[in-house]
């Protein structure tokens, strides 16, 4: 297919661009296969706006006489308006944008066409391999092994080719366990707590069905993570009733009789359309500027967004508590083990593991616990909060995770190497990107699409020193402790950086960040200067002796 076929009017002049908190600008609008480009024709302070078609969530058009107006709502939640003279031009442009922003085929997406303008210092596609992770693990314990049982994606289509499992469980057993777990997602190691040797595993629900089917290998596998005489905790992210109903469809949960050493805790975490509706309601509330205070607060409440945040943080704290405070191993799962399960396991690691609070460590966490673990990014992030089309599998699961990280960050502002911008960057790139990182729903699909060969990785770009410096938190001081966030409603806030980002001026907040950076930077430089002088003086004195 040629993109040119979809572009009937590639260029329009005298277009006026409206954005909140910016004066309207006149300029030229151009459409390319992947971008909408607006450039003001002013000689001074020329402005350009490049918008990926895939970032466009919805588009509305209306006419006053022959002046057409299109309102474009983006997946990063920004809203822009373009006034386009000429009815035909406007109609053409609107229909082109509509077509180009809803291309079906993944291989037509921009990452397959994007040619980087920067030198690749490190290929992000191989920056975070599970093999490396395993090597690190091997230096502290030998209770685990790396299995290649899934190398053809035949045992579990949504798992990566390799996984870390207890040493005593062979591949044959794993195949049997896979048959007993939804989608073949057998329990694998998610996190090993060096401090006390406890493990967090994740999986999908067991397929016990109505007649209470059991699987000896599954029992053996999970028990292999227990210290003798100690109990473990299964954190089921569904309410008990839902878990019980799941048996009718062949699913189920670990029954006490067969898992006597395990205590099951049900922590309800919402899924799918409930989250998506919540997202839509919240964004709607944030964009409606006609609200009075009561209406705003009641809409904020009714969106339930912060309720999800609180529930999620509570569940993550629980998992972390079982490991760190109770000294118990933990198995986390919901139904499929691709959404709420990953939210809980990854957040628990943010709380427990200082490495996950560094830039590199956080990237590794996203790769390991989300991308490789088979969170279906392409399905979940196909549409954002403005889409009118019927929802299928969209849900802001990853955004909720990012926001929870932001909430913890707010409470421990000196314990993270990265800043808020880094989290916002990830949010943006999961919905629309020039990089292939978040395409596909699992490693299997990514391999089939040959993404590592055909597209650039987000990490290749972001890990270059000049980019990294933008995402550095000036207040960072490595903190090796477990950080327990408060989940009291008073301690949680709306994530303004995402939800109010386009609805309020940011100048004053940016200036504050600038000041913070300057104060700390100057201090460090002074310290370095003093140290250097001291050294020189000491050297001089030894020379004299």
């Amino acid at each position: 297919m040629e993109f040119a076929e979809l572009i009937k009017t590639p260029r329009a002049d005298n277009v006026v661009l409206h954005r909140p908190f910016h004066p309207a600008v006149e300029g030229t609008l151009c459409l390319t296969g992947h971008h909408l480009i607006f450039s003001s024709r002013r000689r001074y302070h020329a402005e350009e706006l490049w918008l990926l078609h895939s970032n466009i969530d919805s588009i509305d058009k209306r006419f006053v006489g022959s002046l057409g107006t299109i309102v474009i709502k983006c997946k990063d939640l920004r809203i822009i308006q373009l006034d386009i003279p000429g009815m035909e031009e406007c109609l053409n442009i609107a229909s082109s944008i509509e077509a180009l922003s809803t291309l079906d085929s993944v291989t037509l997406m921009y990452p397959f066409f994007y040619r980087p303008m920067f030198e690749v210092l490190e290929d992000g596609w191989s920056s975070f391999l599970l093999e490396q992770e395993f090597e690190l693990l091997s230096s502290v314990t030998n209770e685990w092994r790396l299995t290649c049982v899934n190398k053809e994606f035949s045992v579990c289509p949504s798992y990566p080719p390799v996984a870390i499992v207890p040493k005593g469980i062979d591949d044959e057993a794993l195949r049997k366990v896979a048959l007993f777990r939804h989608g073949g997602r057998f329990p694998v190691l998610s996190y090993y707590h060096k401090k006390n040797g406890m493990a967090m595993m994740r999986s999908s629900q067991p397929l016990t069905g109505t007649n209470g089917r059991r699987c000896k290998e599954d029992e053996k596998l999970v028990n292999a993570t227990l210290r003798s005489g100690r109990r473990g905790f299964v954190i089921d992210t569904r309410p008990l009733a839902v878990a019980q109903q799941a048996r009718a469809k062949g699913g189920g949960f670990e029954q006490e009789v067969h898992y006597p050493q395990w205590r099951r805790i049900h922590k309800h975490i919402e899924r799918f359309n409930i989250l998506q509706e919540s997202f839509i309601k919240l964004v709607e509330a944030c964009n409606d500027q006609s609200h009075n205070m009561d209406r705003w607060l009641s809409k904020l409440e009714a969106s339930n967004w912060l309720t999800h945040i609180k529930e999620l943080l509570t569940a993550a704290c629980l998992a972390a508590q079982c490991i760190d405070r109770e000294g118990a191993s933990v198995l986390v799962h919901g139904s499929e083990g691709t959404d709420s399960t990953l939210q809980v396991t990854s957040l628990a690691q943010i709380i427990l593991d200082p490495r996950c609070r560094t830039i590199r460590g956080f990237e590794a966490l996203v790769v390991r616990e989300w991308l490789q673990a088979g969170h279906p990014f392409q399905q979940r992030c196909a549409q954002s909060a403005y889409s009118n089309s019927k929802q299928k599998w969209e849900a802001p699961v990853f955004l909720l995770f990012l926001e929870c990280v932001w909430q913890i960050h707010r409470q421990f502002p000196c314990s993270f190497e990265f800043n808020e911008k880094f989290l916002i960057l990830l949010f943006e790139h999961t919905y629309a990107s020039q990089f292939g990182t978040f395409l596909g729903n699992n490693e299997n699909e990514r391999a089939k699409l040959k993404l590592p060969q055909k597209t650039m990785s987000l990490w290749s770009w972001v890990n270059r020193p000049e980019e990294l410096s933008r995402f550095h938190n000036p207040l960072y001081e490595p903190n090796s402790l477990v950080i327990w966030p408060s989940v009291a409603p008073q301690s949680l806030q709306l994530w303004e950086g995402v939800f109010l980002r386009w609805n309020r001026p940011s100048k004053f907040l940016e200036e504050a960040e600038e000041e913070r950076i300057n104060i700390i930077k100057y201090n460090k430089e002074l310290q370095a200067k003093v140290n250097a002088l001291r050294r020189q003086l000491a050297e001089m004195e030894t020379d004299e002796e």
Binding site: M293, D294, E301, T307, Q490, E515, N518, K521
Partner: protein, 581 residues
């Protein structure tokens, strides 16, 4: 005090499920002190008797007799005492101690820091309102400072010296005072030098359904004509229209546009002290809920109406500032008596218009001018003495919160930090200093607070290092503030209403970190230059040296600039050359 000390008292932590502390409770003449004996490090909890707003005995539990203490600074302490007798004794002692009957019993009259008589007196002279009027260019052709009220003939709740239009004769002033509730005539609060628009304040007119007063009309005309650049002036009634109308039946009310030449009359619906009191009560109930869900909290926050009221006050302040700055119009503001809502919105408008009021010194001036001098009834609103509980209302608290909300939107525009606001808020209730005692200037003179007590301000200035805002960009960086007042711009102030629930606050404090950097900066700079002197052959400047011009704000992004030390030097000198303390 019938019982100075009780052993084996438990202090419960409201949120954490941690084991309760066990220790000893002491009652002194001024404080309740609890010493935690179970902690590894000695931990003390001090509660000033004046801060206690209520003491309750709760039903007996297995642990003993619970005593719940609520404080005016939102501290809540839950003690459990072993013996019923002890509990009862503590209870009755605290009731007595927390509700003094006579002003002389207030802490300020016994508070005796080590300080010479001279410094104490200097302390009271630290803030001189005349200098602030001078800063505005007053006296000038249109405005004068008059001592017409020196015997409190015009108004018993105004200070002896007030600023009125030159064109208003004594007859006009006296006539107007008879037509204004409690004689609180229109006086100048702030003059915006750039365009001569003035912010004036008064109480409601005694207009009833049809009464007029020629002198009052002349007074408003004089105010309007003092600003020749604008053909009209605003008269803003900060009450809801219904309340103002109801007042007409009592012979009070609001200005009839037909009787006053070229005025634009406007209502801004800020609720009265009773609504605000019950709103705060509801808010505190929400803050004290035991493990509330998100929904419980947000619903409670909404139905308390607290943020709605904060927004109303802020909206009013923004309206005044805009009228003055953009429409170049003078504004006369009143509510009923002109000492609650009027004080809130006038001081807020000043803060928005003039960066001076965002400095340490300026903020003190603002409070002295709009609140203390103009007769905000601190004693009644804060319940300093045993009195009518219906007079208590968090009017000043709301003002402090509005300032905090502004700090959230403009983090680099205030010289002081959140702790400074909390300190002031604490001391408004503590009665430790004379500033906030009584209800008006006349009463403070009668109480002889200037002779017998200390002023708060020098004590706060001494602690500037910890109360400063490290992000402050200096006096000239921001002129007027134009805050966003959409509902989502207002946040719940956890640091105020849940301030003593440490577990709810961010666990790492950015402010401390930055203040630490600033104090280290000085020592580092010093040692760097000392070392450099020892190494005479080495040259090369300190990082950032030579770029330290005070205007470096804009360029700061690129080169490391030594963070500016925006102390008093930047603000117009208002000090009389006194050093605090």
């Amino acid at each position: 005090v019938s019982l100075p000390q009780v052993e084996n008292v438990k202090l419960l932590d409201r949120y954490a499920n941690r084991k309760a502390a066990t220790g000893t409770l002491y009652l002194t003449a001024t404080h309740l002190i609890y010493v935690d004996a179970s902690a590894e490090v000695r931990k003390e909890t001090w509660i000033l008797h004046h801060h206690i707003s209520s003491v309750e005995k709760l039903p007996l539990t297995t642990a003993g007799y619970p005593l719940l203490i609520h404080c005016k600074n939102f501290h809540v302490a839950h003690f459990v005492i072993g013996q019923e007798r002890d509990c009862h004794d503590v209870f009755t002692s605290l009731l007595k101690l927390s509700q003094p009957v006579k002003p002389e019993e207030l802490y300020a009259f016994s508070y005796n820091p080590k300080m010479s008589k001279e410094s104490r007196e200097m302390g009271w002279k630290l803030i001189d309102l005349k200098l602030d009027y001078q800063r505005m260019g007053i006296p000038n052709d249109h405005w004068e400072i008059t001592d017409i009220n020196k015997d409190y003939e015009v108004c018993s709740t105004y200070p002896p010296e007030i600023v009125v239009p030159r064109a208003a004769t004594r007859a006009v002033v006296m006539g107007s005072s008879r037509f204004r509730s409690r004689g609180r005539i229109p006086v100048l609060s702030y003059l915006y030098k750039e365009n001569n628009a003035a912010l004036c304040r008064c109480s409601q007119p005694l207009a009833g359904f049809s009464a007029r007063c020629l002198e009052d009309e002349q007074m408003l005309q004089a105010i309007r004509e003092a600003n020749p650049g604008c053909p009209f002036m605003y008269v803003v009634d900060t009450r809801p229209k219904l309340n103002a109308m109801a007042n007409r039946a009592a012979g009070k009310g609001y200005e009839n546009e037909d009787n006053y030449e070229n005025i634009r009359f406007k209502f801004i619906g800020i609720e009265n002290i009773h609504v605000m009191r019950s709103s705060l009560q509801k808010l505190l109930e929400v803050c004290e809920m035991k493990s509330p869900s998100m929904s419980d909290f947000l619903t409670g926050l909404e139905s308390s109406g607290w943020l709605r009221h904060i927004k109303a006050v802020m909206d009013a302040g923004v309206f005044l500032a805009k009228a003055v700055r953009e429409e170049r119009a003078s504004v006369l503001v009143h509510c009923s008596d002109g000492w609650d809502r009027t004080a809130q919105v006038c001081s807020l408008a000043g803060l928005l218009l003039d960066p001076f009021y965002r400095t340490f010194k300026g903020f003190m001036v603002l409070i002295e001018k709009e609140w203390i001098a103009m007769g905000h009834k601190f004693s009644h609103r804060c319940g300093h003495l045993d009195g009518d509980p219906r007079e208590v209302s968090p009017v000043f608290t709301q003002f402090v919160e509005c300032v905090w909300q502004l700090m959230q939107q403009f983090p680099c525009s205030f010289e002081f930090n959140e702790r400074f606001l909390l300190e002031i808020h604490d001391h408004v209730y503590s009665c430790q200093f004379g500033n906030f005692l009584g209800t008006c200037h006349k009463e403070r003179e009668e109480l002889r607070i200037f002779e017998k007590t200390h002023s708060l301000w020098p004590f706060l200035l001494q602690r500037k290092q910890e109360l400063r805002n490290p992000l402050y960009r200096g006096f000239t960086a921001y002129k007027e503030l134009q805050p966003n007042t959409l509902p989502f711009s207002f946040q719940f102030w956890c640091g105020m209403y849940n301030r003593f629930d440490k577990g709810m606050q961010p666990r790492q404090c950015v402010l401390d970190r930055l203040l630490g950097c600033l104090s280290r900066k000085l020592t580092l700079e010093e040692s760097a230059s000392q070392l450099q002197n020892k190494l005479p052959f080495l040259d090369g400047p300190l990082p950032g040296e030579g770029r330290s011009s005070p205007k470096a704000g804009a360029a700061a992004a690129k080169a490391p600039t030594p963070p500016r030390d925006c102390g008093e030097g930047a603000a117009p000198a208002l000090s009389n050359g006194l050093s605090p303390g």
